[in-house]
């Protein structure tokens, strides 16, 4: 027991000498710490894009909400129903009921071009025509400024993300569709989901503007409970008048986000891995320098009876401490620079823009600092072994 | 050999030279009103206790440093107000240095070390090789040409240092404690070599030393103490 304590004290003493000599090696220490900070910033920054995008898509659908598309359609864009079909879907068993009837909204989905504020170039912004139940189908739907559009009126409301990202969508702005001009009368939020990237209007108004007659493209509905999904799905798929696919909204959006999330994650991890290799070389250089600079001191300690393990651990310890400092710095920089950074990108499945915010989550920070620690351990290991193997006698003589 | 100075003029002419170093607000007079003439072909030993200013004087003569006051003419050039660039060119032409710790480039082998000063000349590769071979021959190290400094003994390293100093055939050879770090036997070899360079090749040599055994080989010895010269040793 006392042997163990003695050993810990030894390691502590040797480590302290190492840390005390840092000011003399300012340059290389700073380079290594900043190098690791850079790696962590880039890793956390890039992955926060993927997490943010996924968060926006995931919060778009709760498990008790469904979306119905025509068979063969993989997105709303190429789906289509007539009015009679949407009535059958609304009346099918398993849906939640409100005082106005089943919570089911038949919707239209088109795209209009609006300038992206960040680049000034045109972007595909989704424009959705909805029925009154749409507000109950989405989770946490809330008007945060202005008011709802009037039913049957040429007015629109705009999701908070879209209002921020695209030109002309602020409250009081105007949306031009062909010969129609629709004023923006309200801004809404919907729990951070994709609806916040959209412009909403009355479905019948949109039908007129687009000469769609009495057709719709999708049905959004809320189930009585998550368990009635199968009941509702079976009712629709066995109905000979319909040829449809039924998805839980959560699954539908998760599916849509996979390609983009995978792309960003792959590229992000690739970039960070390459950078990590670069930073590892930096860390190795720093620790070799540290060992070289402390050659005599280490030899003196060894001559005084300190064990070689305590030398190894102290060099490793110093390396990890520096890496952690870099990792923390990188994490803070990434958090300050990227967390909640608002942007918009293309959702390929719907061929339209999704506004979202970068998310620097605790899990990402843990990843970043974990990577930093790994760099520190690897970067310290070889120099530590070299330090332990220093021939004591000749190192003592060196000046 | 073409002499850069007229036969009636000294090769090295130091007159009224002062060198002052500043340490904070304090002024340290390392050399005061110093006069020294060295003729062509002399082998001068410069002795004195440590801190007496021997190395400072040698640096001044070699154009590595500038006097605070006084005139300093070496090999026909007034060194007091020569610009840095001219000074470097002048050194390359006229001075060969031999250092106490040899000061060889550890990353270069013996012949590459000797070749260094020749890089500053217009000689082509073949000519440089020839000069290097000749210089190594003079110091009897031809067989060690490809060796790196760390594989050579102290005496051998110093011989490479001397070869490097003479390879450009300089007017003046300046040696700072050339035997200071060597054992007696190796030291004697180096002194034999310097003596031969002086007698057989007519090299003018100024050698700083505090070893009477070394100064005995010189044709003249002067003593420096507290910044002033005398011809008698100071106890």
């Amino acid at each position: 027991m006392s042997g163990l304590i003695n050993w810990i004290l030894q390691v502590g003493a040797v480590t302290r000498f190492g840390l005390l000599s840092i000011p003399q090696r300012r340059g290389s220490v700073t380079a290594a710490v900043l190098g690791i900070a850079g790696v962590v910033t880039v890793l956390v920054g890039v992955l926060s894009i993927a997490v943010g995008f996924k968060t926006a898509m995931d919060s778009s659908g709760s498990p008790d909400a469904v979306i119905v598309l025509r068979t063969g359609a993989d997105s709303e864009m190429v789906s289509g129903f007539d009015r009679a079909q949407t009535r059958i879907m609304a009346d099918a068993p398993g849906l939640a009921k409100s005082e106005r009837g089943p919570v089911s909204s038949a919707e239209l989905f088109v795209i209009i071009n609006l300038p992206k504020r960040s680049t000034g170039t045109d972007a595909n912004v989704p424009l959705r025509g909805v029925e009154p139940a749409a507000f109950q189908v989405r989770d946490n739907f809330r008007i945060v400024a202005g008011r709802e559009f009037g039913w049957g009126k040429n007015e629109v409301i705009v999701g908070a993300g879209a209002a921020q990202q695209f030109g002309g969508l602020e409250l009081g702005g105007k949306v031009q569709v062909g010969s129609y001009t629709w004023p923006v009368v309200g801004i809404f939020t919907a729990g951070g989901g994709t609806a916040e990237s959209e412009i909403w209007a009355d479905a019948t108004v949109l039908q007129q503007a687009y000469n769609r007659g009495d057709t719709y493209q999708s049905v959004y509905a809320r189930l009585a409970s998550p368990d009635t999904f199968t009941q509702y799905k079976d009712a629709l798929t066995t109905d000979p008048r319909l040829s449809v696919k039924v998805f839980r909204q959560s699954e539908y959006y998760a599916e849509q986000s996979t390609a983009m999330t995978k792309l960003i994650t792959t590229l992000g991890v690739l970039i960070a891995a390459l950078m990590a290799v670069g930073a590892l070389f930096g860390a190795l250089n720093t620790m070799y320098t540290a060992v070289a600079a402390r050659k005599r001191e280490i030899a003196t300690l060894r001559a005084l009876g300190f064990g070689s393990t305590s030398v190894v651990l102290s060099v490793l310890g110093e390396s990890v401490v520096l890496a952690l400092a870099g990792g923390l710095l990188g994490g803070v920089v990434a958090y300050v620079a990227f967390n909640n950074f608002q942007t918009a990108t293309m959702n390929w499945q719907s061929f339209s823009q999704v506004a979202f915010a970068f998310k620097v989550t605790p899990a990402l920070l843990v990843w970043g600092i974990g990577l930093a620690t790994a760099i520190g351990l690897l970067g310290g290991l070889l120099p530590a072994v070299r330090a332990a193997r220093l021939p004591i006698a000749s190192a003592l003589r060196e000046i | 050999m073409n002499s850069p100075v007229a036969s009636n003029e000294s090769l090295v002419s130091v007159e009224n030279v002062e060198k002052v170093f500043r340490r904070g607000s304090e002024e340290i007079h390392v050399l005061r009103n110093l006069d020294l003439q060295v003729a062509q072909g002399e082998f001068l030993a410069l002795m004195g206790p440590s801190g007496s200013g021997k190395s400072t004087l040698l640096n001044l003569i070699g154009g590595l440093d500038r006097p605070s006051r006084g005139t300093l003419r070496v090999a026909g050039e007034d060194l007091h107000d020569l610009p840095d660039r001219k000074m470097a060119e002048w050194r390359a032409r006229h001075v060969g240095f031999v250092f106490q710790l040899y000061n060889l480039m550890p990353v270069l082998n013996a012949e590459r070390n000797v070749e260094l000063p020749l890089l500053l000349t217009h000689l082509n590769r073949a000519e440089r090789r020839q000069h290097v071979a000749a210089a190594l021959d003079v110091v009897a190290l031809s067989h060690r040409a490809k060796h790196y400094p760390r594989t050579l003994s102290g005496g051998e390293q110093q011989r490479v240092g001397i070869a490097r100093a003479i390879v450009t055939d300089p007017t003046l050879l300046l040696c700072d404690e050339p035997t200071g770090d060597l054992d007696r036997k190796s030291g004697d070899e180096i002194l034999n070599l310097l003596q031969a360079l002086n007698r057989e090749h007519g090299k003018t040599i100024i050698m700083v030393t505090h070893d009477p055994h070394a100064s005995a080989r010189a044709s003249r010895t002067v003593y420096l103490n507290k910044g002033q010269l005398s011809t008698e040793p100071v106890i």
């Binding site: 790696v39 792309l263 670069g278 930096g282 250089n285 | 890089l119």
Partner: protein, 384 residues
């Protein structure tokens, strides 16, 4: 270069340190290559062949259709040399993963307007003679293993044939190559006459138009004329240069240029720190040696040049290695399997990389070099 040996030997002084520094430079330039290739994939479709071309789409959005009858009206506009149209087909081959572009086009017009599509003369003839014929780019032909003469089924949720079928079959009559590296050779082009006759809905409507203008310097003027021609009609247009159209499309994904520049900035800053630190460390250690060189008659300029040469040599070797490796690693093409068809490391960026390598060498060497230059000989000799 008689000083080369000296510089080279100095790099060999601390083999390990030099190797580590070199490797981090190599890594930085591999990254540079990858980011260039990604940027190329997203915005590099802007082709030099296209600087006299305009894209005309529906004003509200590209998914809205335009009448095919617009074509003669466009061709009648002064300054327009030729016009042809495209329609989004949105199909997949066998599996939704095998997503690539297909377009019905008018063959003669299309090939005339897009000279970067290289199709052998006899295959062109075959296409003109085969109503269900289609040509496919080399990349997709290789990916799916298609041969000339093969009949391929393409399934699309967008277009229904008059018999209610969503699967369209085409006869491959030609395989085209790209004139340039940035010509996309993944699409499949088939005949519009066959398409228009076979589809059940929206007959006579097309997706967008490509125009060639007679004088590229007057492109903006012509674009305005085109939009004016169709103003107040049920389908108003928006006309823009092909390059601007591609750029806007890339911008929809995000501000690629900014993100790339940001990451590269971080990477090079990191490498600058690591390499710069190594250089100044090795200069510090060599103070005495540099003093000896000066004593031997090396001028301040010589010493400055030696140190700078050393850092530039290190960074250029690392840079060239990294750029070469990046070129090799990206030569395999699209790493995402379909999302980035134009993924490659362009020679232009390769040259930018070489310049960057020299600049990095200069930036990392200049401060230690100045420090070395300013050494006072007498002082530095004492530190030997």
């Amino acid at each position: 270069m008689k000083y080369f040996h000296l510089v080279w030997s100095n790099l060999g002084r601390h083999r390990l340190r030099t190797t580590l520094t070199l490797l981090s430079i190599v890594v930085a330039f591999i990254l540079f290559g990858f980011l260039s290739a990604i940027k190329q994939a997203l915005v590099g479709g802007i082709s030099v062949d296209g600087n006299d071309r305009l894209i005309v789409r529906h004003k509200v959005s590209i998914i809205q259709v335009l009448p095919a009858s617009y074509e003669p009206r466009m061709e009648a506009i002064p300054g327009v040399a030729a016009a042809t149209h495209f329609t989004w087909f949105g199909g997949v081959y066998q599996d939704p993963k095998n997503f690539f572009m297909q377009c019905p086009v008018v063959p003669e017009e299309f090939l005339e307007l897009y000279p970067e599509i290289l199709l052998p003369e006899e295959e062109k003839k075959a296409w003109l003679a085969t109503r269900t014929g289609a040509i496919v780019g080399r990349k997709s032909a290789e990916k799916f293993g298609w041969k000339i003469g093969q009949r391929v089924p393409i399934q699309t949720p967008v277009w229904v044939k008059s018999d209610g079928n969503h699967v369209w079959e085409f006869d491959i009559v030609g395989i085209f190559d790209g004139k340039n590296k940035n010509t996309d050779t993944t699409p499949l082009y088939f005949r519009y006459d066959y398409f228009d006759e076979a589809r059940r809905n929206v007959k006579g409507q097309v997706g967008w138009y490509g125009l060639r203008v007679q004088d590229p310097t007057r492109a903006a003027e012509v674009a305005a004329l085109v939009d004016a021609e169709f103003q107040n009609s049920p389908a108003e247009t928006k006309t823009e240069p092909e390059g601007a159209f591609v750029q806007a499309f890339a911008n929809q994904i995000g501000n690629i240029v900014m993100i790339t520049a940001g990451i590269l900035g971080a990477v090079f800053f990191t490498i600058l720190l690591v390499t710069g630190n190594t250089m100044s460390q090795s200069v510090r250690e060599r103070t005495g040696e540099l003093g000896v060189l000066k004593a031997l008659g090396f001028t301040n300029g010589h010493v400055l040049a030696l140190v700078l040469l050393e850092s530039c040599l290190l960074s250029v070797i690392g840079g060239l290695l990294g750029l070469g490796l990046a070129r090799l690693m990206t030569s395999g093409g699209d790493p995402t399997g379909g999302m980035l068809p134009l993924f490659f490391f362009p020679t232009r960026d390769l040259l930018v990389g070489v310049v960057l390598a020299v600049a990095l060498g200069f930036a990392t060497g200049i401060f230690p070099a100045l420090q070395a230059m300013r050494l006072r000989v007498a002082d530095s000799l004492r530190r030997m």
